[in-house]
């Protein structure tokens, strides 16, 4: 895809011969005004088609959850109220013990309400491809529980119009108790089970090889993917496609100079042999691309360091021009008084050029817009940050969350896996998390079983002697 777009820009730029199109490949960035980058196209199409599907599923699960919740909360109340409504004259009056049970039902229902609010009514973190198996099973369990209680109630109490009201109240209390225990089960299954780490996943980005390791508990593949992606946004430096073009052009140059001629006539049943011959010839060719790489990298290093020195000096000088107004100056302001945004705009021009040049040398210029730089400068001035603290976010590429929302691409992730995504992680599981122009390769390894033995040292056993080495003259 990238090649096609490159060809398009090349046609409008300058006419070059076909043989060395690899050497004039332009980098694909998202800022040209005439061409749409690949990221934009894919993003538009994906936004259109997915906003409909995911919304439906989310609302469906939300309504089902609400219905189940209503059923769960109204059932004990119904159990208590129905005898009073249906056969009020035959119901036994409620004694002391029975009324005490009313308080118990009320408080247990309140606790259940708060617990459900804490555990289930949180904003969803992610939309997973398949259903969350444990939640579905728990919902099913609760439904079965409530239905069986209703069945019993319907047959033994409603049909026979039982008069023992205290027994009915105790029955309702037992239902609320059972629901509280199911909630305990929900906590253990949904929250506690995956806390103990037993797998170590190794996450590698396929474009530049950035690798991180995380410890995870027993999770299904989709939930593990969710945890990994949450950590990706804070741990991995932002993906910068502009840094990868150098190796691609080197690779293109490596094979570009070879042409295969078939001298044995037009029988081409040796295409495999042809490509192997090409690889062998390319390997044997004495090319000096390693030399070029070494000098190019040394040169680049020196250029970056020079630009960085100029930038640091410019920023330090700029910061000396502005200072916080003191308390006693409030009555008689010395000069023009500015708020942080204006102060940032005032000192920005003196460092803008150096900063722009540095960003261009390190190929980060499309990650930072002028607007964002000024906003960051105003933020740093407000919080009394030193020039070094201001520069920190430009000198090293930070995590993806540090940059604007358009870099996040949070809705473009695809989980590619050979095993079913609801199956749990195992030693040796490997799957892929694909984003638009890079993917994260995830491999799992079990944390080893540690056998710890003890050795007791008596504190009195720490005794020392000096190493003597004396020489005596006689």
């Amino acid at each position: 895809m990238a090649a096609r777009i490159d060809f398009a820009t090349q046609c409008t730029a300058q006419p070059t011969s076909d043989d060395n199109w690899g050497e004039t490949t332009t980098a694909v960035t998202g800022t040209s005004e005439h061409s749409l980058s690949q990221e934009d196209i894919v993003r538009i199409t994906k936004d259109l088609e997915e906003s409909v599907g995911l919304g439906c599923r989310r609302y469906l699960s939300l309504t089902l959850g609400l219905l189940l919740g209503l059923l769960v909360f109204l059932t004990p109340l119904a159990f208590l109220v129905l005898p009073q409504v249906l056969w009020p004259e035959r119901v036994q009056p409620c004694g002391t013990a029975c009324e005490g049970l009313f308080i118990s039902v009320a408080f247990k229902l309140l606790i259940l309400l708060l617990a459900v609010w804490a555990l289930f009514l949180r904003p969803p973190r992610a939309a997973l491809p398949r259903i969350f198996v444990f939640r579905a099973l728990l919902a099913l369990l609760v439904l079965l529980l409530v239905l069986s209680y209703w069945l019993f109630y319907g047959v033994r109490i409603l049909d026979s119009q039982d008069e023992n009201y205290q027994g009915i109240v105790q029955y309702a209390v037992s239902l609320v108790d059972a629901l509280l225990f199911v909630h305990y089960l929900a906590i253990v299954l949904l929250e506690l089970r995956q806390l103990q780490p037993c797998f170590c996943v190794c996450v590698t980005r396929n474009t530049d090889g950035e690798t991180r390791h995380y410890n995870l508990g027993q999770l299904s593949i989709q939930r593990a993917a969710m945890v990994i992606l949450e950590n990706y946004y804070k741990d991995f430096p932002v993906h910068n496609p502009a840094l990868l073009t150098a190796s691609k052009s080197r690779a293109a140059k490596h094979l570009a100079g070879l042409k295969v001629y078939n001298v044995d006539g037009p029988g081409n049943n040796a295409t495999a042999g042809q490509s192997r011959a090409m690889i062998a010839a390319a390997a044997r060719r004495r090319d000096t691309s390693h030399n070029e790489l070494y000098y190019e990298e040394a040169d680049h290093e020196r250029r970056v360091r020079k630009r960085k020195a100029r930038l640091v000096v410019a920023v330090e000088e700029a910061f000396t021009h502005v200072r916080r107004m003191q308390e006693e100056e409030l009555k008689k302001p010395p000069g023009e008084v500015m708020d942080p945004r204006e102060a940032a705009q005032a000192i920005f021009p003196s460092m803008a050029r150096a900063l722009q040049k540095y960003l261009r040398t390190t190929r980060q210029q499309h990650c930072h817009s002028m607007e964002s730089i000024q906003k960051h400068l105003a933020f740093c001035i407000t919080h009394n940050m030193t020039p070094k603290a201001f520069l920190e976010s430009y000198l090293t590429p930070g995590p993806t969350l540090q940059y604007g929302r358009e870099r996040w691409m949070a809705s473009q992730w695809t989980l590619v896996s050979e095993a079913s995504v609801t199956s749990s992680l195992r030693d040796g599981t490997a799957f892929l998390l694909k984003c638009i122009d890079f993917s994260l390769v995830v491999t799992t390894k079990g944390i080893p079983y540690i056998k710890l033995s003890e050795e007791f040292i008596d504190p009195k056993s720490h005794k020392f002697v000096l190493r003597l080495q004396s020489e005596t003259s006689v």
Binding site: R467, L468, Q469, S470, E471, T472, S473, V474
Partner: protein, 123 residues
């Protein structure tokens, strides 16, 4: 000169007779000793076996009585006037060498190469 615990030590030794020199009120021999069973044998630069706790000659003053008597640096002293020096402390060794009522000390010393020299001479 390997030492097997429990077995008698055998070595080819050279007899050296040193006449003490009077310097002021001291009688000096003109060399320095190191080693002893209370010392650290691993730091001895002259021993072949680094667990050897014998007494070694670490320095010989040029022109002194020891040099005149052909004592060399690195020699291991086995006996002094009949007293054994292979299993003594550093201080005991010093005392045996610096007895005030003795003018002459007769040492039995051994060094590397003595055994080869003897063997070559016999062949």
């Amino acid at each position: 000169m390997s030492f097997v615990p429990g077995e008698p030590v055998t070595a080819v030794v050279q007899r050296i007779e040193i006449h003490k020199l009077r310097q002021g009120e001291n009688l000096i021999l003109g060399f320095s000793i190191g080693g002893g069973i209370d010392q650290d044998p691993g730091q001895n630069p002259f021993s072949e076996d680094k667990t050897d706790k014998g007494i070694y000659v670490t320095r010989v003053t040029p022109g002194g009585p020891a040099e005149v008597a052909d004592l060399r640096m690195g020699d291991k002293i086995m006996q002094v006037n009949g007293w054994d020096m292979t299993m003594v402390t550093h201080d005991q060794a010093r005392k045996r060498l610096t007895k005030k009522n003795e003018d002459v000390v007769r040492l039995l010393v051994t060094r590397k190469g003595l055994e080869n020299a003897v063997r070559n001479a016999m062949m």
